[in-house]
Every structure is written in structure tokens, then in C-alpha cells.
């Protein structure tokens, strides 16, 4: 049985600076390389030494070992430099796959994700984001209904057994990555249609944007990719109340079944480690915002609320 703080720590597992004994934080942060974009003094990613060593760096990148920095250069070609930068990343990842530098790097997919906080439009394949330790962006929607007595019940899907990441675990009703050029709100509307066949107009009318959940995670075996990578992340969280007549059914192969669960059932499943960790964090935030977890029933309340909203290590807006 995990405590609520332990559930949050499963996502947010990178050490924090500490006033009296800073060893854990220093030991974790010192070996990391910083990833920089052109004309930008602030970093956008963390690379670990073994990634820097194995990556087949092209001339578009400059490594500075003394300060542990990787810079994407401004003039790798004769094109407009922003386009050239985007191509330089694609080219590097093609080469990485050709040389099989990272056997657990997923297949190339068309979906691209933005480098959050960049001063220009630059994207990177989803499966490669962790290698650069760039902030990942997702949108998660908690869907609930109320019984005739006013009790909240949650529509919770269970992931399929054949998923490469977090098989058989519980998830949010609707969740997905925010792609390049997409806003979080448009992402959740799109995913609500794709994953739960929810009517677009109903979602646009009734959904409530309710903040973010942020963390700094170091990847483990369950995530399915390379282990020990830096994964700072932000999830934009949404709440949707639906009528009692709405029934959720799996739309695609990702989900084996939808369950309608009470607060106590969700809480127990979280404690037993049945939820995908990021989804457990989003449920925890929901429970805090709606008064199910309080200062009176949770000794770690203040710590939990802060840990659910960790300040990310990199800039999250262009900040011109």
C-alpha cells in the first residue's frame, strides 16, 4: 500500500535541492548535459552521459565537454536557419536509427512534438524526446458523473494487455500528447472524439480547464523505453461532468474496458499501484481540487500539492 505522497513521488522522482544535505540533488544534476537551441541562453533539455556517448552527432551539433553542453547550431545549411534546425534533428534521429544506437528507441512516427519554451517553431519525434530530456506535454481529462444521491463516480479505462507501455494499468478517460501546432484544448477535444467517441460540441461546451500537473521524472522499466532518462513533464488537466445516461465503451485496441468507479475505489486502486503513474497524479490533483483529499485527512497535504506542481527545470514560454 502506497501513501499518497509515495504515489506522487513515483512521477516526481528527481531529487530537490536541500538546505542541509544537498548530496542527492548534486549527485543527480551534476552528470547531466544541457541542450541548447540557437540564440537562446537558457537550456531546453537534459542529456545523460550514455546518450551523449552513443548519439551519432552530426556537424549540426556542437558539444562542449568542459561545461557539459550540446548546442544545436544556427547555420547547419543554406536554408532559413529555423527550417535547417528542424531538419538537423530529423537527420540525427534517422542516423541514430540506421546505426541502431538506441535499440529501445521506438519506430519513426509522423507525430511531432514541440520543444516547449523555444523561441521559434521546432519539433521533435515523440519517441526521441526523452533522449534530449525535453519537457513532454500532454492533456488529460477526468470524466465523472453523479449518482442520484450526488456521489461522484469516475469513468476509468484499463489499458490493454498488449500495450508496450504500462500494460493492464488504469488510465484517464481521455489523454494524449499535445502535438506540435496544437493547443492543449484542441488536443483534449480531438482525443475525446478519438478515444471515447465523445461528441465534440458537448466537450467544447462542458469541459473545464483546471490547471496543470508538472513533475521531473527519471524513466524506469515500466515506461518501455531507455531507462534512466530525464523526463520533465507537464499535463494540462481538464474535468468533464457527464450525465448518468452516458456510457463509455472502448473505441480502439488501446483500452480493454471502461469501469465506473467510486472515489473509494479509485483511491484504493491508486494505493495498490493499479494506475499509470502520471494518471494517478492527475487523479490526486482532482481529489485535492474537489475536497476529497484535505489538510485534515492527509498529513502530507502541503507537500503533495507542491509536488503535483513542480517548477520545471526549463523555461515553458518563449520569454522574449
Amino acid at each position: 500500500m502506497r501513501t499518497n505522497l509515495e504515489i506522487v513521488q513515483e512521477c516526481d522522482n528527481f531529487p530537490y535541492p536541500n538546505l542541509t544535505n544537498n548530496t542527492a540533488y548534486t549527485k543527480a544534476i551534476e552528470p547531466l548535459w544541457l541542450f541548447f537551441l540557437p540564440d537562446d541562453l537558457e537550456p531546453h533539455g537534459f542529456l545523460i552521459q550514455s546518450v551523449v556517448d552513443r548519439m551519432p552527432w552530426t556537424p549540426s551539433f556542437r558539444l562542449i565537454p568542459e561545461s557539459k553542453q550540446v548546442h544545436l547550431l544556427k547555420y547547419p545549411g543554406r536554408k532559413e536557419w529555423q527550417t535547417a534546425c528542424n531538419e538537423a534533428i530529423d537527420e540525427l534521429l534517422d542516423l541514430t536509427r540506421a546505426k541502431k544506437a538506441f535499440p529501445r528507441l521506438g519506430k519513426k512516427r509522423d507525430e511531432k512534438f514541440p520543444i516547449v519554451g523555444a523561441k521559434f517553431d521546432i519539433g521533435i519525434e515523440r519517441s526521441a524526446m526523452s533522449l534530449f530530456g525535453i519537457i513532454g506535454q500532454g492533456a488529460h481529462m477526468t470524466v465523472y458523473t453523479r449518482t442520484s444521491l450526488g456521489e461522484m463516480k469516475f469513468w476509468i479505462p484499463r489499458r490493454n494487455a498488449n500495450k508496450s507501455t504500462y500494460p493492464n494499468m488504469l488510465d484517464q478517460a481521455v489523454a494524449g500528447g499535445v502535438a506540435q501546432g496544437e493547443t492543449p484544448f484542441e488536443c483534449i477535444v480531438r482525443e475525446a472524439g478519438e478515444e471515447a467517441a465523445l461528441d465534440e460540441e458537448v466537450v467544447r461546451r462542458d469541459v473545464v480547464a483546471a490547471g496543470t500537473v508538472t513533475w521531473f521524472n527519471v524513466s524506469d522499466e515500466k515506461a518501455g523505453g531507455e531507462v534512466g532518462l530525464m523526463n520533465p513533464g507537464v499535463l494540462y488537466v481538464y474535468d468533464l461532468e457527464v450525465g448518468r445516461e452516458v456510457v463509455f465503451k472502448p473505441v480502439d485496441d488501446d483500452i480493454q474496458a471502461f469501469h465506473l468507479m467510486s472515489v473509494d475505489e479509485v483511491r484504493d486502486a491508486m494505493r495498490n499501484g493499479e494506475f499509470k503513474p502520471s494518471c494517478a497524479a492527475v487523479m490526486m490533483d482532482f481529489f485535492v481540487r474537489h475536497g476529497f483529499i484535505t489538510a485534515e485527512n492527509e498529513v502530507d497535504y502541503v507537500e503533495i500539492v507542491s509536488r503535483l506542481h513542480r517548477k520545471l527545470p526549463f523555461r515553458t514560454s518563449p520569454g522574449f
Copy 2:
């Protein structure tokens, strides 16, 4: 006109660690002394040098200049040591007033506040908390109603012109410090009766606990006390929806008037700096949780949500 991020920064104004240029954080943190309690390896407060210099330390305290530490000792007398520790703080503050060491230290009041995260029950006068840089605890309740068209309106009080702190500024409908031995929920129920004459049963039934807002503030002139003191703080936030028939009126001399304000009016007042900074932060958190501030209309959204929930520099639960 302040941006939303600037509004949050007014409360949360102590620098953060920075990956590429840590000067501001180091310069702010290095001169601080740490305050320790007996049998506890983790600190509970930050004292600035000028406070350490002017404080008429008694033999109950030990100063270690090499590591900038102040320790409250375990055996200052022959009583049970926890009682003796409480008395040692009282005695020090009596002496401080007798010697007029801090001219802007408020009068002695009966109200005591807990040292948050201590492993035993220990309190300190409210007006002296800032001198030790201990985490301050409050409970704030945002009260709103809905027009016949479903639009939210907020009951917002304006502080009286003769208040020593933040005169004439806008405030939360109900707010107060969480006293020693009181839970945040009982605090908000008590304050709702005292400050807004709200019916206790209605508050207990309808109030929703909705998380916390946390910050690390360095005091300025407007706070009314000594300037440059360290004020880490946590506010337990509550939402209360009331019917349209409920009308708020000032109960005591603290408030000159209550206003029923729309979302836009509250937003404008925040931008113009009309709110007490901590109350602006609580309103901002409300606007985030209820979908008025979103990723689409606020470029600093992710940063703002994290800054509203800063991880406090000290332990917030006993952590046995």
C-alpha cells in the same frame, strides 16, 4: 498594468535555483541563518543577519556562526523539555520587546501560531514569526454566486483605510491565520462566522477544500513590519458558492465595504494592484482551477501554476 505572472511574483519573490546562472539564488540564500528545534536535523526557519545581531538571545539558544545556525536547546530548565522550549521563545520575545530590539514588532497578542512541521507542539506569537522566518499558515475562502445567466460573481471586501497592513486593498471574503491547535477547516468555519456572519452549518455543508497556495516571500514596506524578512507561507484555499439572496456586509472595522464583482472586474483589479498580494494569488488559483485562465489565453500558464504552489523550503509535516 501587471501581467498575471508579475502578480504571482509579488508574493513569491524569493529567487529560484537556476541551471546556468545561479547568482541570484546563491546571493539570497547564503547570508541566511537556519533555525533548528531540538532532536530535529531539519531546519524550520530562516533568520537574516540583522535579526540575529539585534536579538537579545538567552541561554536557551545556541548560535553556531560557522554554519549560520540558531538552535533552540533541549534542556533550558527543569521542566518537561517541550514546555520549556515554548517558554524559552516567549521569554526571548518578552525581552525583545523590553529592549525595543525591533521597533516594528507588533504588540504582544494572545494568539499563537504553530511552528509548522515541528515534531512536538510548539507555538510562537504571530507578529514574531517573520523574525524567525517560519512558515506562516492561513486559510482563505473565495465566495461566489451565479447570476441567472450562470455567470460567476465574487463577494470581495475592501480593507479599511486605517489597517496597519495593506490599507484600502481588496481581500478574500473570508481569511485568517490558522492558530495553534486549530485545523484549516475549523479556522475557515470560525472566520466565516466572525468576518462575514456566515451560518456555520451552511459553511460546513457547502464549502469545498480546493488545495493550497504556497510561496516564499521577502517582506516589503506594505506588509507593515520589518522589511527584508523571510516569509515562506501556505494558504489553505476554500471555495464557497452561495445563493443570489445572500448579501455580504462588513461585520467589524476591518472591512469598509463588500463588492459583488464579475470575473473581468476582479481581473482588472488584480492587474491594477488593488488586491492584497496573497489574496491576488488565491484569486489567480481560483481562476486557474475554474477555467478562466487557460493555456490558450495565458502564455505563462505553466509557470504561473507552479509558482502558485512553490515547494516550501522546510518540512511541512512532522515526518517521523
